[in-house]
């Protein structure tokens, strides 16, 4: 299995453990990841908030580069990037917008690229196939946290179901884990406010962690670097808002599966987390 790969900025920086685990897992599953050449930032929330044309042009360039490279399918582990790329693709179905963006890019853009997130890649690979490779069953009770960007807007992303999604839970069950039915699967963690409004992030992420803790989750499983850094890196700020601090780790789905397949903690970047991971 060979597939295009767009890491996105956070995976090369503050969330490189996500990148490491994705790469390690892909290797273990014999999936060849072909990185998009000279890729740029998708613009994330900033571009989206500040200027529409910019918010379309940046992702458009990424996809144009991929098309140029002859890729047909690209996996985007970062939920934020995934969302921006999918939405841009949808917006650019509009003739006028597309022509405008193409004249900005000075580069052809077809818009027929298949953009998928990590869960979809693993789904395509098959929970069953993964099961057969499990050496260290992931015998933990965890809360799968999807956040906003993976499932909304449903009309465009068409991924899983918008309330109480299941795809991550299925994968976890596949590797021997048990998943919680909890309340905050798709509530927002504060996403883009990580730096600018840490107070709000602490509040929102606090609610999420609290519910997971109340239901005695051993870990929170995520597929989005923004969620992860808010729930993990901001844990200090979060715990300040809570009566009793919470110490449950926040790990990526790729790390969880990696562990089950017997990949080393270091290789999966588990050492890079703020909240120590002992699973």
């Amino acid at each position: 299995m060979k597939i295009g790969f767009y890491p996105g900025c956070s995976l090369t920086g503050s969330s490189r453990e996500y990148n490491e685990s994705v790469v390690a897992l892909a290797k273990a599953l014999d999936i060849e990841l072909v990185e998009i050449k000279d890729w740029n930032c998708c613009g994330a929330t900033a571009a989206h908030v500040m200027n529409e044309e910019l918010s379309l042009s940046l992702p458009a360039r990424i996809m144009a580069m991929a098309e140029e490279q002859g890729l047909t399918e690209v996996v985007v582990p970062c939920a934020a990037c995934y969302n921006r790329l999918k939405v841009t693709q949808h917006e650019l179905e509009d003739e006028n917008k597309r022509t405008r963006v193409i004249e900005i890019l000075k580069q052809p853009y077809k818009g027929d690229l298949k953009i998928i997130n990590v869960l979809q890649m693993l789904e395509a690979y098959g929970a069953e196939n993964i099961k057969t490779r499990v050496t260290h069953p992931f015998a933990h009770k965890v809360a799968c946290y999807y956040g906003c960007l993976l499932v909304r807007p449903h009309s465009i992303l068409k991924f899983d179901r918008v309330e109480d999604p299941q795809s991550m839970d299925i994968l976890i069950k596949g590797i021997g884990g048990t998943t919680l039915d909890w309340a905050f699967k798709t509530e927002c963690c504060g996403a883009g406010f990580s730096v600018s409004r840490t107070d709000l992030v602490a509040k929102l992420s606090g609610n999420i962690l609290k519910d997971a803790a109340d239901r005695s989750a051993e870990a929170v499983i995520v597929a989005c670097p923004l969620c992860q850094s808010n729930l993990d890196m901001r844990r200090g700020a979060i715990n300040k808002t809570l009566e009793n601090p919470i110490d449950i780790p926040v790990i990526y789905i790729t790390q969880a599966i990696g562990l089950a397949l017997g990949i080393g903690a270091k290789e999966l970047g588990l050492k890079r987390h703020f909240v120590t991971v002992e699973l």
Partner: protein, 666 residues
Amino acid sequence: MSKIGVFICHCGENISATVDVERVAREIGGMEGVAHAIDYKYMCSDPGQTFIKEAVKKYDLDGVVVGACSPRMHEPTFRRACAEAGLNPYLCEMANLREHCSWVHEKSEETTEKAIDLVKMLVEKVKKNKPLDSIKVPVTKRALVIGGGIAGIQASLDIANTGHKVILIERDPSIGGHMSQLSETFPTLDCSQCILTPRMVEVAQHPNIKLYTYAELESLEGFIGNFKAKIRLKAKSVNYATCTGCGACIQKCPVKKIPSEFNAGLGTRTAIYVPFPQAVPNKPVIDRVNCNYYKRGACKICEKTCQVGSIEWDKEDEIITEEVGAVVLATGFDVKGTDFFPEYGYGQYKDVLTGLQFERLASASGPTFGEIRRPSDGAIPKKIVFIACAGSRDPAKGIPYCSKICCMYTAKHAMLYQHKVHDGESTVFYMDIRAGGKNYEEFVRRAIEEDTVNYVRGRVARVYEKNGKLIVKGVDTLLGGEQVEIEADMVVLATAGVASCGSELLAQKLHVSYDPYHFFAEAHPKLKPVETNTAGIFLAGACQAPKDIPETVGMASGAAVKVAALFSNDELVREPVVAVVNRLAPPLYSTCVGCFMCETACPYNAIEHEEIKGRDGSLIRTIARVNQGLCQGCGTCVAFCRSKSIDIQGYTNEQVYAEVMSLLND
């Protein structure tokens, strides 16, 4: 050369005040083909009519024009007069000199001239009129009522009490419908079953009602007064002739865990079952999908317990044919299930219920014998939340309409809860309170003021479970959008009322039209609420749109009256204003080319294909034929017809052209 009599009415002074009636009579008298023209003070009076009758005989008239009021007023009067004088009534026409002339114009030359023109116009028309016979259709005085809920029960009883035979079919094993599931009814809080069950028994015992339960309509052919209904009697696997309804078989049946439809899934039933204790008929059927014998060919315990040997394993569905003159549709409605609401947990929380399920909890005959207890753990909920407009008024969910009954039953539910759980707290999330109806608003106020139900204006975003509580995240829009979070023990969704399953298919079998939500469409939104646009088929109750019990009963009685009126004569007499396809002598047969544009135009499926065969039986051609029982005489087909082969009696091309010409040629 025609001999037409013209009679100009003064209508006291109503016409003569602004129209020079003498002059009208004089000038018309001079018209070619007019044998006699007079004016008189009151043409509709006895002496007036006598003038007409005598003139018809004296001048041997072959046409009559009465210049008076609107034909919508007195056309029948004058046509009857002509008929009594031996002139075909359809050779009599009226010129509207009052509503369309004298009353709307000042006294003047022009007004009189207009009056003359109007009369001339009708004279020219009458010259082209042909004698017509009103259409007589025989009437089978037996009605078919489809659906045994309160609507069907009421309609059946009302029709039966007029002395006519009724065939009532119900697809479930018992009649009673949703009303039999209800606890108390608003706004009086009287027990639903107490008022319903006597009616159910009356139906079963009524000499004029033939009841088929566990039966569905297979097909319907024919037209008003003359329908042929094929009915499928689903195999009950129990011989009702011998079954005593002792219930021993039910006691012994080993399959006990089937969710009970009657209890909206809150209770269970056996495979051989009677839906509920007061069922009519009170005899069991075997649910073949769940019965051990039908599933794996072994068990037959019921057969062993049955003293009278009523179990019929090999019984098959039976198709019977009944001839009926009218049909009443009373198939009711369904409610959406809790699994329709992702934001409220896809129905995965046991203590999130539909309104209908709450009815069962509150009902003395229900699974908890009328005590409000949580399905999950049997505990009595101390905090309960009712969510109105669950699915209704929600285009995103495909249901933009208001289900109408929810506001009232939600108020009732909250009230019943407060009456049964004195230390309980109830909250109702609503958008608007629609309590139009006698004592309805007062009822809701009572819930709020006396029973201290907490009404919060706003919708609920989501419901989720946390340590045995249901967390309800709502809002109070009257406080500028303040979020409201309630830890509830039970949540009741006033789920949308939708067309009962299979409505679409049934509508197509009957050729009645239905709306985008599969509710049956009435013939006219204001003036024909119980008729469908297919003559002889009527509507009762919630199959037309969500309704409460009083409305349903009223509508059912309305439909019954329409049926009784239809049955009040042996033959259906209809104005011969119907379309006809011309027929000519062989080898032409007709100018109809068989394009069947008329068929596409006809709203009543009245166009049939007539095959013209030679002596040897070989098909010569296929032309259109109008079924006069179905045709309502709109004439749309006439305008569609390319070859001018179809025409409408009373408004033929010839006639209307004559009218137009007379208005323009002078």
